[in-house]
Amino acid sequence: MSESIRTCDLLKDCAPELLERAGIGTWALDLSRQNLSLSRTARDLLGFGPEISASYDLFLSRADDRDLSRLVAAVNHSFESGKPLDIQYRLRGGKPVRRVRIVGSVVNDKSNAAANLAGILLDIEKENQNEERERHLALILDTIPDAMIVIDQHGIMQFFSNAAERQFGYSASEAIGENVSILMPEPDRSRHDDYIARYLTTGERRIIGIGRVVTGRRKDGTTFPMHLTVGAMRSADDLYFTGFVRDLTEQQQTQARLQELQSELVHISRLSAMGEMASALAHELNQPLSAISNYMSGSHRLLAKSSDPNASQVRLALERASDQAIRAGQIIRRLRSFVARDETEKRVESLSKLIEEAGALGLTGAREQNVKIRFDLDPLHDAVFADRVQIQQVLVNLFRNALEAMATSSTRELITSNKPVDDNMIEIIVSDTGQGFDPDVLPNLFQPFFTTKESGMGVGLSISRTIIEAHGGRLWAENNSSGGATFHLTLPAATEKDAAHVA
């Protein structure tokens, strides 16, 4: 008890000095606003030397103009109502601007019972700056698409960013305080504490500073691929780990889609290359086979008038030989219809999507080659009725040809556009700034086995034309004004009836 009295007295005696030492000024103002007393620290905060006699006017003159009327009103209000004063205001002319907080209450003077206002004055600039910086950092963190999670050395989450909330489905308040292992599926889930323990004892880095693709677990139990990088930091005596998480779902889906498209294309182009070869072979072989058949048939007829004893046998042989020539023709015909995919899968397709996907497949490496790629697509004429894989095969083929043609050009620009044309068709135009074609090459461009490349079978454009014609469209080429080649192809625009079939 005696001790309590002792400390109580101590506090009474030393309170002003303690405040001074803590950087907090004290002040008192009488009702007439004539007398103002300021402590040493209060003078320092306001920038008055000990030689200047303080006055209320002088005190007000230190306030920034923008806050002056507010300050006067607050002081008057406290005097009139007897309620406490608490206001922050800016000091005049400081760079950077300094803020102070003035807190006071009405106290009665023992001598004349007149009311005085007295209280403390403190610098809040430092406090505000810290808050501001923290808010700023939080805003920056929110803009990072990667999630950020901080855990302590027991695996307990201390910080959970907005992106983390989006990725994992937990709110920060749900996550903070929980073990980070709730964000991972088994077996990591039950082993994570051991992982930390192992790092703490051995210092062996398995993920810290390295980064790995691991699996994350959302609140609803679903999992997703993620890239995780972890940093360790020591703050005072505690060790914290910061994890940055990038959701790879979308990236992996895109990659899978590209792979799928690519394998489809490879399959189809192999098939159609075979089909085209079979078809071209059939055409080429039909000519000599027809000639053979004709010679045989003619001979057979001539021998009808012969009196040679062997004539009838020779005629029979010629007839059979002729039959065999026709049979050979039929075999080739069957081979072609076997290889050729005569049933196409036509649907209503978005042209822009077809072109963009074909671009993703056919234009890889274009950026490294410094090729400018422009898709000038009219969204009003986007729906076509087509077999997606086949049309993409054509476009990929055209794109790749264009890239090759521009390999030695100084300007490298590839423009793809579309426009409506007659007969409810949509025309797609692919222009490059390559070398164009010699006049004697143009008419043969679409013939099978015709090629201007050193390696290549010369069936690409021939297949492309076959595909486009099977869609009821046309494919042709010309030289353009920039010296390159322009390919045009037409496809039927999708009608409402087509759309109904798709639905």
């Binding site: 059939a282 058949s293 026709i326 015909r333």
Partner: protein, 203 residues
Amino acid sequence: MSHEIFVIDDDAAMRDSLDFLLKSAGYEVRLFESAQIFLDNLPKYDVGFILTDIRMPGIDGIELLRRLNAVSDGRRSCVVVMTGHGDIPLAVEAMKLGAIDFLEKPFDDERLIAALKSALEHGSSKSDPLTADIAGRIESLSQRERQVMEGLVAGLSNKLIAREYDISPRTVEVYRANVMTKMKAGNISELVRFAIRGGMIRD
């Protein structure tokens, strides 16, 4: 009309072998390696019967038919086109342009001679007894069978025909079989020929 046959084909062996075959059957033959050369010389001849390849560089068989239609002399001639492997749409186009028949390479000489005979004897095959018979066969088709036949002749697949008439591809197969039986057609080419001769396909 003369019994001279005008053969147009860019393949030398085809020309020579047709020359041999047709002469063996008793016809006179004139050979041309391109439609352009033939057209250039057209005024010199009394052209009755033309046997032409359809796929040729320069002026192809289709373009030749168009140009023949544009000159009054050409209109009187009978044209049989030779096509490659089952090129139905091209053959149909040729028939629409006035070709009286088409032959798929390689062809049986009997088919060729029959086409020639019929053309030379009747001027056009459109008035011979077989034509009347084919018209009767087409008459015997049900409405749906007729629709399927029109699709087949237009070169459509079963699937596309099914889409066109909103029936299942399986049903199309059934109708297709019926059509082939009723038309007495052994294959699609023959069906196309019958369709044209029976007047199913008009210009």
